[in-house]
């Protein structure tokens, strides 16, 4: 089963990798989690959000978010439509600025040091952020130059092969199917080896092969101590994929907990309550 690799990693520490463990999905107390950090750089959170507020068109969308994401952590962001999930991701991606509050990514201020932060983020959103009139390879080459990726051409071709698009690399993206566009969007997001992956409902519109690919890519990313923050509507997918769940309701964090410690029913009840 495709989730096995992911599922079992929740039940054992990630000591199969040569890198010292930077996160422990099983931790149940903060003291234990601190002990797992072996060197100073790991103590910096991947994401640190304090009292984040954002309004659009008179309407407060985020009303004071406090959230941390550790390095190597996978966090699922749940919430009803309009709860602020996409806005939160856009702020983390430095596409829009907060009205109030602070966002730190690996210790960098997302407003003051936005350019440095952007280089650390990979964003797979509803829109693919691709140029339909260019070919797949041209798209990736362009973004490689924008992100100053070393040996951009090799990296682009490698990623195209990784997402299974190497046969269409010289065709215009405008001719791609939705699934192919999504894959290319993943390639674009991973091009510059980002530390933080932001995914807005990554499971929509994917076939079985697409799901498997996404899982594999996420696992590889996390193994290199990258973090993932993804939004989703589907609770059943959350538990196997994420180490932690955060539920947003009406612009605030109403629940956060390790997936190892909650069961699906309890989560569902909390979700219903929060999204009413």
């Amino acid at each position: 089963m495709t989730f096995d690799r992911v599922g079992t990693s929740l039940n054992r520490s990630s000591d199969s990798s040569p890198v010292p463990p930077t996160s422990n999905y099983n931790q149940s107390s903060p003291a234990q989690s601190d002990a797992a950090f072996s060197d100073a750089s790991d103590k910096i959170h991947m994401v640190e959000i304090r009292t984040l507020k954002k309004s659009y068109a008179l309407k407060p969308v985020l009303r004071g978010i406090n959230l941390d994401v550790r390095q190597g952590e996978r966090v699922a962001l749940l919430g009803a439509n309009g709860a602020g999930k996409t806005t939160l991701l856009r702020i983390l991606a430095c596409l829009t600025r907060p009205d109030r509050g602070t966002v730190f990514i690996l210790g960098l201020d997302s407003v003051q040091q936005a350019q440095q932060v952007r280089a650390l983020i990979g964003f797979v959103a509803h829109q693919p952020y691709l140029y339909p009139e260019l070919t797949a390879l041209e798209n990736l080459l362009f973004f490689a130059r924008m992100y100053a990726v070393k040996q951009g051409r090799e990296r682009a071709v490698t990623l195209l092969q990784r997402v299974g698009l190497e046969r269409r690399m010289h065709e215009r993206v405008g001719t791609f199917s939705r699934g192919q566009v999504q894959r290319l969007a993943w390639a674009r997001a991973l091009l510059h080896s980002p530390r933080l992956l932001l995914l807005d409902e990554p499971d929509t519109g994917l076939d079985q092969q697409g799901h498997e690919l996404v899982n594999a890519l996420l696992t590889e990313h996390v193994e290199q101590s990258g973090s993932v923050l993804f939004t989703t509507h589907q609770l059943e997918r959350v538990l196997p994929l994420a180490g932690r769940v955060v539920i947003l309701g009406a612009g605030r964090v109403v629940f956060t907990g390790e997936t190892a410690n909650v069961d699906l029913d309890a989560l569902q009840r909390t979700y219903q309550r929060a999204t009413v």
Partner: protein, 226 residues
């Protein structure tokens, strides 16, 4: 890679992408070119350019044609980003917003420039004027730079509103008055060399370009960020 080199690489990358996109869409150049020619022909009928008053009217007709044709092209590169899927594609990248501006400016210059290169010989032939003398190329280039500098900056602003088509000329035309005056006069003095009192029109154009290029490059980040 040093930041300066990255900066230039990014400008080149955006410019190359825009050129590639425009070549594949084929829309803009043809419409701009036709527009310029149409304006020239209409001027011929409107002003009845006979030999004696030609020198007075021809430069004006030429620059009106250029400015109205450039109007069509100015918003193009920015609009193309938005229609396709928003400027976010570009804003997501760690690219200095100044680089985005300069790349868009160069793109606009290129598009308008090509139209001008085509229109000039046709113009010279249609009205039988010896145009390709002296400083014609610098005048046309630097004058167009002035128009494009202002136009690129404001095309982002206007694009954010519903009345894009109306607002952009309203924003741009008042601001480029010095360019219009100077460019027309400078072109005119190519045909009929002015006396010793002729003001340094090209110098004015250059000063305008330097001032507003610097200003626009610095201010662009404020109009493009959300």
């Amino acid at each position: 890679m040093s930041t300066a080199r990255t900066f230039l690489t990014q400008i080149a990358a955006i410019l190359a992408k825009d050129i590639r996109s425009e070549l594949r869409s084929k829309q803009t150049w043809i419409s701009m070119g036709m527009f310029a020619l149409l304006v020239l022909v209409i001027f011929n009928f409107a002003f009845d350019l006979r030999v004696d008053n030609k020198a007075a009217v021809v430069p004006g007709a030429l620059w009106v044609a250029f400015i109205f044709a450039s109007r069509r092209g100015l918003g193009r590169t920015i609009a193309a980003e938005q229609d396709g899927g928003s400027l976010d594609r570009l804003l997501l990248c760690p690219v200095d917003r100044k680089a985005i501006y300069l790349a868009k400016l160069l793109g606009n210059l290129l598009f308008i420039g090509v139209v001008e290169i085509v229109a000039l010989p046709i113009f010279a032939a249609l009205f039988d004027v010896p145009l390709f003398v002296g400083q014609l190329i610098p005048i046309v280039l630097l004058g167009t730079l002035g128009v494009a500098t202002i136009g690129t900056l404001f095309s982002v602003m206007a694009a954010a509103t519903r009345a894009r088509e109306l607002l952009l000329p309203l924003l741009v035309f008042p601001l480029i008055v010095p360019i219009v005056i100077a460019a027309v006069r400078a072109t005119g003095s190519l045909l009929v060399p002015g006396g010793a009192n002729e003001p340094p029109w090209l110098g004015l154009i250059i000063a305008f370009d330097i001032i507003f290029l610097s200003l626009a490059t610095l201010l662009f980040q404020y109009v493009i960020e959300e």
